[in-house]
């Protein structure tokens, strides 16, 4: 893994989007007794890093377990990497890695032994498994610790070991359930860096989290779940950009607002900051013309960006 002829697979750009979705579900339903956990979820997810966001109990982990074939869908269709989960569960599992939120590590094994075993369970021959265990532990920053018992590891080291076991057999897709749970800020940064690098390894990832900033930082496609239903599913850029222009002026904002309204814009003023939207025209052009007409100096101007939290809270309140 360190060097070698094949390192050219790691690139900084995203691999080309495959035409077929990596995950496709249709009218998926699942319930724990009377409690509906997944309610009519239909998705087509492209390759890349996919964020799965939602409050606790939104159905994120349940959806991941259905994708893995651990929980059987009550109804609906699920395909992962082109394989129907209902009939080709083991085929799916041989191509997928899974990092559960809860502990999954045996404390009485060394990291190297456990990773080697995890690779063998993924179908790799013994020698290749041991080599990859060593390589992947280096990749997640645990090479020096590989012969220590996992029971002696800190929470951050355990999280990295969990990620390592999920990718050690080189899956095409990895499902990460709350990968930053329980980590301190430094550990969280390292984990997010590792997750961000997965795409460069040719591994697609579905990252479940209720920490929206983690998803914003690592993902290029977002699925929002609430109460077992999909609120939104789409590219992160579509969710975070708006037609709204935000400008801050030096001086009388009311004069600019009045000019903008005369030009047909809807304006909200907060101190010296104005938000302009225009149903028919170009909000940027209106802002420019209003500033000229009012003869007020400009401090800054740009498209208003919404955070994932804005979108999530907005969608949630619409429900």
């Amino acid at each position: 893994m360190a060097g070698g002829a094949d390192t050219d697979r790691e690139t900084t750009s995203f691999p080309p989007m495959s035409e077929a979705p990596i995950i496709a579900t249709s009218d998926l339903r699942f319930a724990y007794g009377d409690i509906v956990a997944i309610d009519g979820v239909s998705l087509e997810i492209p390759s890349g890093r996919i964020g799965l966001v939602g409050a606790n109990g939104a159905g994120k982990t349940t959806l991941l377990k259905i994708l893995l074939g651990v929980l059987p869908a009550a109804s609906g269709r699920v395909e992962v990497l082109g394989h129907p989960v209902a009939t080709e569960r083991l085929e799916v599992r041989s191509k997928v890695g899974w990092m559960p939120e809860s502990n999954c590590l045996p404390p009485d094994q060394t990291a190297a032994d456990f990773l080697g075993y995890a690779a063998e369970l993924g179908g790799l021959p013994v020698r290749a498994a041991r080599q990859r265990a060593s390589d992947v532990l280096g990749l997640v920053g645990l090479h020096e610790e590989r012969f220590r018992y996992i029971g002696e590891f800190s929470t951050g080291m355990k999280q990295r070991t969990k990620l390592a076991q999920a990718i050690v057999h080189d899956p095409s897709l990895v499902l990460l359930d709350e990968p930053t749970a329980g980590l301190d800020p430094e550990g969280r940064e390292e984990m997010l860096d590792l997750v961000t690098r997965l795409q460069g390894f040719g591994i697609n990832a579905v990252i479940s989290s209720h920490v929206l900033t983690d998803i914003e930082r690592t993902c290029d496609w977002v699925i929002m779940l609430d109460g077992g239903k999909v609120l939104r599913s789409g590219p992160l850029t579509d969710l975070s950009t708006t037609d709204e222009v935000e400008l801050e002026v030096i001086g009388d904002a009311a004069m600019v607002a009045a000019a903008a309204r005369r030009l047909g814009a809807t304006v909200e003023v907060t101190g010296t900051v104005l938000h302009l939207t225009s149903a028919g025209g170009d909000a940027f052009a209106i802002a420019r013309d209003a500033l000229v007409e009012a003869a007020v100096p400009l401090r800054r101007l740009g498209a208003k960006r919404t955070t994932l939290e804005d979108v999530f809270m907005g969608e949630g309140s619409n429900d």
């Binding site: 070698g4 390192t7 502990n103 999954c104 045996p106 390589d135 990749l139 057999h169």
Partner: protein, 287 residues
């Protein structure tokens, strides 16, 4: 505190052979063997299994050495006869099974490692079968190796050819008896382990169920409840072993209760099947 450094060593995709489900099953089997024997674990994990193995083998080794040095041995001697040897190894294997069955099932469930198996090309049936196969291999070796040593030692002293041809049936009889002991104890051990959260509790509960059931049933039979002989779990394998080897080493409780050895064999099979199904259902629910 920085606990490690993430080195950018690049990534090399794996493009070698993938062994799929069969490879995963073999890995599971090998891991089971290592767990049972404490290999690649802390030193204290190795002490008990190897101590029990040594206790099982040492008498056979001693006898073979003694016979070889003396140049003869009494083939009628009962102390180290094949059938009597099961009295020693049968008790040891009961303790061994108690420890090994909980070691095989319990940590995976308690530490959440079942979720790793759930993400690999394995089924619950694979998991249970391979864990059982690991235990079967070690228990069989545990029980049968001393007999092979005894057989070879006696053959050596007696000049191989004639001894081997005249006594070859001992090998399959002891092998079959070893399988019976495994079938009688291991499923019960797995059953208790599947519902326990602590290895020590599981081992203690298993030993308690097997030994106390025998003591209790003897008393009940003497009080006239003959059918209770069916629940003398510790005595069934010995009774069947004597049947297989055409010997009589003990007064077995099922025998005292008037049951044929074939009934004991049937009890072993039924208990094993029911225990196996229950363990499967439990593991499926836990995984």
């Amino acid at each position: 505190m920085t606990e490690g450094v993430v080195f950018d060593l690049g990534w090399r995709p794996y493009d070698g052979p993938r062994l799929g489900r069969s490879g995963a099953r073999r890995a599971l089997y090998r891991d089971g063997l290592r767990r049972v024997l404490g290999l690649r674990r802390r030193a204290r994990r190795k002490v008990l299994p190897f101590a029990l193995l040594a206790i099982a083998l040492l008498p056979a080794l001693f006898f073979v050495a003694f016979g070889v040095i003396a140049g003869e041995f009494d083939p009628e001697a009962t102390l180290f006869g094949h059938s009597q040897y099961f009295d020693l190894t049968g008790a040891l294997v009961l303790i061994f099974t108690a420890l090994a069955s909980s070691e095989l099932l319990l940590p995976d469930r308690v530490h959440g490692t079942l979720s790793v198996y759930a993400s690999r090309p394995l089924t619950t049936a694979d998991y249970v079968a391979m864990r059982a196969a690991s235990l079967a291999t070690v228990v069989f070796g545990f029980l049968w190796l001393p007999h092979v040593m005894l057989f070879l030692g006696r053959a050596w002293v007696n000049g191989f050819g004639s001894y081997v041809t005249e006594n070859a049936e001992i090998l399959w009889q002891t092998a079959l008896s070893s399988v019976v002991y495994f079938a009688a104890y291991a499923p019960l051990g797995f059953l208790v382990a599947a519902f326990s959260r602590r290895a020590s509790v599981a081992a203690g509960a298993f030993l308690g169920v097997v030994t106390i059931s025998s003591a209790a049933t003897r008393g009940l039979i003497e009080a006239g409840f003959d059918f209770m002989g069916l629940f003398a779990f510790q005595h069934h394998p010995g009774y069947v072993k004597d049947w297989i080897m055409d010997s009589s080493t003990h007064s077995w409780i099922p025998e005292d209760a008037g049951f044929d050895p074939s009934v004991s064999l049937l009890v072993i099979i039924v208990v094993a099947a029911l225990s196996g199904l229950t363990v499967y259902a439990r593991q499926r629910r836990a995984g």
